[in-house]
């Protein structure tokens, strides 16, 4: 009886008094694709980090093909045959493809490196695994996301791993690229590799994996064969019955697409931006939004969503015209945009929305127009600001131990509630929300969707840019797709097939 390819025995991880992973016993055979499912905070990332050796376990052990694996040592893990493709690519942007691949193979290349030899080795590797990576001498930062994903995978494969861990690999892939990836993974399974596929997307997991393990709040809930369970049942296991409806409810468009027109809140004509290094340029984006309407823009990261959001809110220069309620906005002018009633919920709250070292109150009044409400001839009215923040916290059910402590101490969901609450307090006429529920659990996401809907009902024109088609289907009246800086025509929000095709650049 051969030892399982990967065996976990009583594996556990604690951070202080918080248990990230309860003692886990699990075994995986070779030649299998096994899905690891769970929402944010379920313990999936902790498990990946433990197996990859990035984190040291607090208890238990790991073994590969019967040989024990020393915890907390990434190099030992790689030597034992663990390959990892991380959620956020571990590519060095400034280095070339060949150099990045060489980084992953210390044993093979020796102390001297010559660009020609590296490029040849890169091409050989790509051919051997059937993955197209383009020109090996190109710098990685400038490559499209799908290619970067393939390079990541190739680099993990180049070490001939016995266990391949993929952490949310399809987050930035189009449906077509996802199919290609799945085909490669099935080939690897046939060759005897163990593939651990971490995701929160249920349909995907059931379509690809042989078996799935579901985690919730750091503990393994169950392991089932993929053919023995439906998505609905899985959802119930993952999040509990009450939120199941939110996950699998049939997506209806909120309102009919062809209603009588409301006043046009936002008219964008010919919006174009210049291409910054490694990023795409917007080309002639035309868009109209009526007050009270929620419009969605789908697209894979890196196709222009950030550029569009920045251009509309005056953060970057642009060509073309943007008219808000009849008033033409000057380009590259944040103040003009915010005066006209345009508000932004940024995609990366830690980097773009919050000053983590400042208190909750101070973050609540960060936007210029709010700050103006609480200052009189240059002096800050801290009492009024505190009252405002207290009201905000109460209304949006934010769990904040103290309003005067740094906001960095709050959880992501609570931080996002503050960001949205303060943005809505501005009563914006045009609300641009970028990935508003990224990284949040189902309950928080549902609350935020309700807030967006309420904002629209109150007369705002809401534009949601998201990579999550389910979210867009649930929330939007109309859906567009951004691909390589070009905006498609409107489609029905529930038409996933068409959306997927457009996201991959197919004329669909």
């Amino acid at each position: 009886m051969t030892a399982p390819r990967l065996a976990l025995h009583a594996l556990t991880k604690r951070y202080g008094s918080f248990t990230a992973l309860a003692p886990l016993d699990l075994q995986f055979p070779a030649g299998c694709i096994h899905g690891i499912l769970g929402e944010n905070g379920a313990g999936k990332s902790t498990l990946v980090r433990l197996i990859a050796g990035v984190t040291r376990p607090d208890g238990g052990s790991l073994a590969i093909d019967g040989t024990p694996l020393v915890g907390g040592d990434p190099r030992a893990a790689r030597a034992a045959g663990v390959g990892v493709v991380h959620q956020h690519f571990a590519l060095v942007g400034a280095l070339s493809v060949a150099e990045n691949l060489a980084l992953g193979r210390p044993e093979a290349t020796g102390p001297w490196i010559a660009p020609g030899r590296l490029a040849a080795e890169a091409r050989a590797l790509a051919d051997a695994h059937g993955l197209d990576i383009g020109d090996p001498t190109a710098a990685c930062a400038a490559l499209p996301v799908g290619t970067q994903a393939r390079i990541e995978i190739l680099r993990a494969l180049s070490a001939a791993p016995r266990v391949l861990l993929l952490d949310e690999p399809t987050a930035v892939l189009t449906p077509a690229e996802t199919d290609e990836l799945f085909a490669s993974l099935r080939r690897l399974r046939a060759a005897g590799m163990l593939v651990l596929f971490i995701t929160h997307k249920l349909e995907e997991a059931l379509g690809l994996c042989d078996a799935v393990s579901v985690f919730r709040r750091g503990a393994l809930v169950t392991t089932v064969g993929a053919h023995d369970v439906t998505a609905r049942e899985l959802a119930r296991i993952m999040v509990g019955a009450e939120a199941e409806a939110a996950v699998t409810a049939p997506s209806q468009p909120r309102r009919d697409v062809g209603r009588s027109p409301e006043p046009l809140a936002l008219v964008v004509r010919g919006c174009s931006t210049a291409a910054a290094s490694g990023r795409v340029a917007l080309t002639g984006v035309d868009l109209t939004l009526a007050a009270g309407e929620i419009c969605g823009i789908a697209g894979v990261d890196g196709n222009g969503q950030d550029e569009l959001a920045a251009a509309l809110t005056g953060l970057t220069p642009r060509q073309g015209t943007v008219v808000v309620h009849g008033k033409t906005l000057a380009a590259n002018d944040v103040q003009a945009a915010s005066d006209a009633g345009v508000a932004l919920i940024p995609g990366d709250r830690r980097r773009e929305a919050l000053a983590l070292g400042l208190s909750v109150v101070e973050n609540a009044i960060l936007p210029r127009r709010l700050l103006g409400r609480f200052s009189r001839s240059g002096r800050l009215d801290l009492d009024a600001a505190t009252a405002f923040a207290t009201a905000l916290v109460r209304e949006y059910r934010v769990a904040a131990p103290s309003l005067h402590h740094p906001i960095g101490a709050l959880s992501g969901g609570n931080q996002q509630r503050i960001v949205i609450g303060r943005t809505l307090a501005l009563a914006p006429r045009v609300l641009v929300a970028v990935n508003p529920t990224r990284g949040l659990d189902i309950q928080a996401a549902a609350q935020i969707h309700a807030l967006l809907a309420a904002s629209a009902a109150g007369g705002a024109a809401v534009l949601v840019l998201s990579t999550d088609l389910d979210e867009l289907a649930r929330v939007c009246d109309r859906l567009f797709v951004l691909y390589r800086g070009h905006l498609s025509a409107a489609i029905a929000p529930t038409d996933r097939a068409r959306a997927g095709a457009l996201m991959a650049g197919l004329a669909g």
Partner: protein, 301 residues
């Protein structure tokens, strides 16, 4: 006229060498993602340690070794704070400068008391090249100059053509990615910092053991900071750094020659030249995409 050019070329090499050494060291350090503004203090330390060792043993070579060693010891403090404790690099570098100033001052007094006249030591003699040929005069420089020049292609080869250089560059661009590949980011950074310290120390040793024959408090006179500017000017490439060091050396030399030629500009205004030039160069050639992506960034960011 040609004599002036020859003189200028010679001075440019002589004055550019300490800048070149310090800048090459800082280049390696910055390519690994660490900005060390304590180069100034390291040069000063090297100048004093070199002077002290040479005064004690009579050998400039021993002095140079001591210069490098002392700078490495101080650089180790910086490395522990920046890599081990993840302290802010700019503040730690500033502390390094202040520390070097204090330590060299105290040590100078401890060894030499309060002397009015400057003590002198034996120095590196200029290499006798080309006999008496006048046009070869600029090449008659002390040995450390040639060591510095030889380091330029050496640094390039290591950075661009060895695995060590590749991993170092990866660490400076994307340390988290490098770490996930099993690269020892901390160790590499410490190594890069120490190499930078060694070269800065040798650059300082050159000041007291070749360029002049004595030690004066604060004798580095901002050269370490100019080296920082040269790294930017050279776009973090060894060849660019060489060109920058020679240019700045020429500018510094130029000010002396202007004085000697009796040009009626105040000595003080001429002394400003290197610093103003640095500012001008930075204003027109600054940073941007060429800098290593993770430069100065702390682990926690």
């Amino acid at each position: 006229m040609s004599e002036t050019i020859l003189l200028l070329a010679g001075s440019a090499l002589a004055l550019g060498t300490p800048l070149l050494l310090a800048a090459l060291g800082e280049l390696v350090c910055q390519r690994a993602g660490v900005i060390n503004i304590g180069v100034e203090g390291l040069m000063l330390t090297g100048a004093f340690a070199g002077f002290l060792a040479c005064w004690a043993t009579g050998s400039p070579l021993v002095g140079m070794a001591a210069a490098g060693f002392a700078a490495i010891v101080l650089g180790l403090v910086f490395a522990v704070w920046v890599v081990g404790l993840d302290a802010d690099q700019v503040v730690a570098g500033a502390a390094l400068n202040i520390l070097a100033l204090g330590l060299t001052g105290v040590a100078y007094r401890a060894f030499f008391g309060v002397t009015g006249s400057a003590l002198s030591v034996t120095t590196f003699a200029p290499l006798a090249i080309g006999g008496d040929a006048a046009w070869l005069a600029p090449l008659r420089q002390p040995a450390p100059v040639y060591v510095a020049l030889a380091l330029v292609p050496l640094v390039w080869i290591v950075l661009a053509r060895t695995r060590l250089g590749l991993t170092l560059r990866a660490v400076g661009e994307a340390p988290e990615a490098a770490a996930s590949l099993g690269i020892a980011v901390g160790t590499l950074r410490v190594g890069a910092i120490l190499v930078g310290a060694l070269l800065a120390g040798i650059g300082g040793g050159y000041l007291s053991l070749a360029y002049s024959n004595t030690f004066v408090e604060g004798m580095s006179a901002g050269r370490g900071f100019i080296a920082l500017a040269i790294v930017v000017f050279g776009r973090w490439r060894p060849l660019g750094v060489l060109i920058g060091a020679l240019l700045f050396g020429a500018a510094s030399a130029g000010q002396f020659h202007l004085q000697a030629a009796g040009v009626a500009i105040s000595y003080h205004l001429l002394l400003m030249l290197p610093y103003v030039l640095t500012l001008a160069v930075l204003a027109f050639a600054s940073g941007g995409v060429a800098a290593p992506a993770a430069l100065g960034r702390r682990r926690e960011e």
